[in-house]
Amino acid sequence: MTEDRNKASEEQLAYAGVLSIGMWIGLALLIVTFIAYVSGLLPSYVPIEKLSEVPQGSTVPYWGMRAHEFNETFNVPTGWGWVSIIGKGDYLNFVGIAMLGGLSILCYLVILPILIRKKDTSYVVIAILEVAVLVLAASGILKSGGH
């Protein structure tokens, strides 16, 4: 009896399984795309050597700028706009980053049917709310005013 009780629940094991596979795929993608970026295999949207340069009239290098200044200077699209420049080495890296960022949503979607089957109503509601929160964060709808 105790042996069963100290084992992880069905939904916990399902969550762990998806997390494990997704994490390795995401990390592998991140490393492969970074190698393609720094090796120059693919052209960069923002020239790689420019990042450490200090623009005229400024005291900070480009990668020392506030994010919104950097994006304005190089005309980098925000939100999901990076998908349109995915052919560029630097923004191809976002595929792996987005994969890691989307993994938790996928894990919740995998455990939802298990929670529904178990009639675990409160956790079904919480899990749905969590998916909604993560999707909202990922959607790019939320904006913050920069200085």
């Binding site: 992880a8 969550y15 340069e53 925000t78 919480i126 964060a137 959607s139």
Partner: protein, 325 residues
């Protein structure tokens, strides 16, 4: 015994090397200045030097984080933010992804071994991840000097918590509260050191969940990860056993940091040139750290990490106040 001494010596060398390396890095002023469109390469340092140095520093941070029992993010943001020429926006974005990658890597094993409790994590994650979005939005809207002042103050608070907070292996929970009972937040795990199963419950759930609003906001605002705050709340306030608290906290970061990381990503505050060397450096360093940890447990490391955090926290605070640019 000889091994422990040797490892302690190596750790001390790593610590002081990191300190010297940090001090020798030219600190550029960050953000806020008018930027001209045309660039004149005034720096003679080739671009690849910084990612390489970043990789080496994060590798060392990964070792120290494991030995000092802290998450990588809490060391990463103040040190890289204070001593590298990167904007605090990009550093916080990278910090969240560093903490996220570490949590994702550790999560499956902790869940399968039933040390991280999904039952405990799900309600907490909803609160913390929602608050982290708010924190990220506030953090990106604040001026860099304000971020540095608040970051410095937070790091000094973390130092205080690390230096003074006690931990309880098996906190006493006289009676589980109504909320935890209605959500059936409880569990049982195998405690190998005792050779027996340990049954656990929690109490003070509403107070704990309320504190996770604050923790989530701070995690999103500073990109720190939040293990330093998660563990005391889960363990000391809510009464979860220490192992369950540490493991659930680690897993929790994979959800909390996800929501904040998306906000940084969507605002263009993520630079692969900073993110990838940092993630790889910290993860490789952590693997080496785990191997060292298995052979010795030098308590002095904890104090070195506290010293390093104290130094980085003061640096952020003084940078924000314009005293140490």
């Amino acid at each position: 015994m000889v091994n422990s001494k040797k490892i302690l010596k190596i750790s001390q060398i790593i610590f002081f090397s990191l300190l010297v390396l940090s001090l020798s890095l030219p600190a550029f002023a960050s953000g806020g200045q008018e930027v001209a469109k045309e660039a004149v390469p005034t720096s003679t340092t080739p671009w690849w030097v910084w990612p390489l140095v970043l990789f080496v520093v994060t590798f060392v941070l990964g070792i120290l984080a494991v030995l000092g029992g802290v998450g990588g993010g809490v060391l990463f943001v103040p040190i890289v933010g204070g001593f590298f020429p990167f904007s605090i926006d990009f550093v916080r974005g990278a910090g969240l992804l560093v903490a996220l990658a570490g949590a994702l890597a550790a999560g499956p094993g902790l869940l399968k071994r039933n040390l991280a409790s999904l039952r405990l994590a799900i309600p907490v994650a909803l609160i913390a991840s929602s608050a982290a979005i708010v924190g990220a939005m506030i953090g990106l809207a604040l001026k860099p000097n304000v971020v540095n002042i608040l970051l410095g103050a937070t790091i000094l608070l973390i130092v205080l918590i690390m230096a003074t907070a006690k931990k309880s292996d098996f906190p006493k929970v006289p009676k589980p509260d109504n909320l935890s009972q209605s959500l059936a937040i409880m569990g049982i795990y195998r405690e190998e050191s005792l050779g027996q199963d340990v049954e656990w419950h929690i109490h003070r759930t509403p107070q704990g969940l309320a504190l996770f609003i604050v923790i989530g906001i701070m995690a999103g605002m500073f990109g720190l990860g939040a293990g330093w705050a998660n563990v005391p709340v889960l363990n000391l306030l809510m009464g979860a056993p220490l192992k369950i608290s540490v493991a659930t906290s680690k897993f929790l970061l994979s959800i909390t940091d996800t929501s904040a990381a998306w906000v940084y990503l969507n605002q263009g505050a993520v630079l692969p040139m900073i993110v990838v060397p940092s993630i790889v450096g910290i993860m490789l360093g952590s693997m080496v750290g785990v191997k060292i940890l298995a052979r010795a447990k030098p308590k002095a490391i904890k104090w070195m990490v506290i010293g390093l955090l104290l130094f980085a926290g003061l640096r952020a605070l003084l940078k924000g106040l314009g005293i140490w640019k």
